[in-house]
Symmetry: C2
Subunit: 377 residues, 2 copies
């Protein structure tokens, strides 16, 4: 199978990163000007959001949107393709809102190798000696910047869907996507707070958070949205959604492994970040289940439960405990299975006897399934 | 002039409160079900948002939207009117996001006579003994509930604008409105943090916050949006926007007076709430300017500056200092002037020689100008 590398000439199968970048920067320049018209002093705050969106991220959701668009028969160039790029940019702004607000909720100090936005604002306020409570000021500004990103993403969705005449058919997907990711975040919070002790319940909860907070939002719905914009056949949409759910969950399971075993120099996050944060992952649930079944390992289980979620956790020790179980292997197997079922869905045949997902997109999605689940960051 | 009272038979000039309520409750019931489908445990959180929107508020923005719609020639009944009610409901959800997030930013303990949402969640978590940090949990949930409200308001905007075939012409107004209110909130924060000492600068900043955070968002843009949905003539839109800006600023100046002198039993907020919060209002700027000009009143000015923005402020004393200046009278005069210029704009004549704002809407807007600026809560 042909596996294009990043940087190879644009064939239309891959979203044009330069054009997407140009759409994002042009839109953000207009928005910076809108905010400056209210008051020039706001530009410094908004610039943090602009840089966050301009410089950051893997543009994963736009790529999947693009694949859905092509799978549904959309053109790779021309005015319709330009309109789809507006929706692609919308996904990046939605993601900016999710990350800014998530970092407040998780009290994350760093993101993408830099201070998180609320921390950056707090530090600037503290350095300037303004704000009685710089931390609270940082959180306040980051809440509003996230809100701006959320409002602007809807503007971009409309700016793309209206000229395509596709707003009616794309709106239900757009609606579901935003509600699912926010409900998934709420569920993540509820699950983390309740700190379920039973490993089976913990695993089921973690899978459900993966399903909504990540899988639907990152892969399934972007593909679905692209296909809906193109007016794809139901069989195509069904195949893409099955692929999206399976690869999306596998993507999150890889993230869970990286959150414990990832190299900070590559991930941009501190080592064992998920352990300090107390994230209730499938990996952790499987490790706890195994330790709970072995009478001679109750000490390790107690250490794990005592350490996870503590700011001063000994992450090296906790990482070693998890590595000493079969949980890592089990998660790796589950990732492999999901990649298998996800790829199989791409081979499904529509009622017209033709492949539900056309060959060039099929190949591209196979490449992306590997990239999303075998990554190091 | 005929001044209809609330509860009088529906004439079409007033938005039908029962129908609006029905639209809001039906939409929220669907959304509660969407979230329950992700996980039934989320319903308790979302119920707080549902109650907040269902029970609360003066429905001021929907009223102005309705007036803009009628002024632009929209029908008071039928399918088009039903579609406009969807957009009216969208405004209430946008307002819910603004208030939930604002209460976090302002650390407001109460809203509409009840605990603010982040406080209600925090209390529930503390009572249940879950969450290591109930306060942070409350803030986290309220951030996400506000995000849901912001996403859902966009869904409702589309649900109304698409069947009207008005999405193209209404989208720029919708875009401007959301950016302005969020930029206005950012500016409010920037102004409060910088704590400008010069009363003239402070007054100018306060007026600018009023302009964007309140006037545009509460009156000007809802009128403009309704008129845009109806495809109103430019002269009509211009008249409505001038009215909206003037009455909107006057509305906020009234709010500033109520924030210091309001009756807590009527406003639902503690006495002198704005003083504790350190809100930089035109009222405060005018009081400070007057005290600063009188050499024998430097003590009062020092007391005022030392007290405003402190959680333990002696609000009775601060209120008395402000009442002892001419600031209250000056703000009252400014309100009266703005009501005058705002009402005058309604009498403007279009290029076709006809009144830019038709008589029945003109009368209704005149009533609402009084209601918005002479209110006690």
């Amino acid at each position: 199978m042909n596996r294009p590398e990043p940087g190879l000439p644009h064939t239309g199968r891959v979203i044009d990163a330069d054009r997407l970048h140009a759409v994002i920067t042009a839109e953000l320049a207009r928005r910076r000007a809108d905010v400056a018209a209210v008051d020039p002093r706001l530009v410094a705050d908004v610039e943090l959001l602009v840089e966050f969106v301009t410089d950051g991220g893997k543009r994963l959701r736009p790529q999947f949107l693009w694949c859905g668009w092509l799978a549904g028969g959309g053109a790779a160039t021309g005015p319709d393709a330009d309109a789809v790029l507006q929706v692609a940019a919308a996904l990046e702004l939605l993601q900016a809102c999710a990350l800014l607000h998530d970092d407040i909720i998780d009290r994350s100090q760093r993101r993408r190798g830099r201070p998180s936005t609320h921390r950056a604002v707090a530090k600037r306020a503290a350095d300037a000696g303004v704000a009685a409570d710089p931390e609270h000021h940082g959180v306040s500004v980051a809440i509003l910047l996230g809100d701006l990103a959320l409002a602007w993403c809807d503007d971009l969705f409309l700016a793309g869907a209206l000229p395509l005449g596709a707003a009616h058919r794309a709106a239900p997907v757009w609606r579901a996507m935003r509600t699912e990711v926010l409900a998934g975040q709420l569920l993540d919070l509820a699950v983390t707070v309740s700190a379920e002790a039973d490993p089976a319940t913990q695993e089921r909860d973690a899978m459900r958070v993966n399903r909504y907070k990540t899988a639907a939002y990152t892969i399934e719905r972007p593909l679905h949205l692209g296909a809906a914009l193109a007016g794809a056949a139901p069989a195509t949409i069904a195949a893409l959604r099955t692929y999206g759910t399976d690869i999306g969950v596998a993507f999150q399971l890889r993230d869970d492994l990286l959150g414990v075993f990832g190299d900070p120099a590559v991930t941009g996050k501190p080592a064992g970040d998920d352990l300090v944060e107390g994230k209730q992952t499938v990996l952790l649930a499987l490790a706890r289940a195994e330790l709970g079944r072995a009478p001679d390992r109750v000490g390790e289980l107690a250490d794990l439960d005592a350490g996870v979620g503590r700011a001063d956790a000994d992450t090296e020790k906790l990482t070693a405990i998890i590595a000493g179980t079969g949980a890592v292997g089990a998660v790796e197997r589950r990732i492999a299975e999901l990649v298998g079922t996800g790829l199989a869905a791409l081979s499904s045949i529509g009622p017209d006897g033709r492949s539900a997902v056309p060959d060039p997109v099929h190949e591209r999605l196979a490449d992306m399934a590997v990239a999303a689940t075998a990554r190091r960051r």
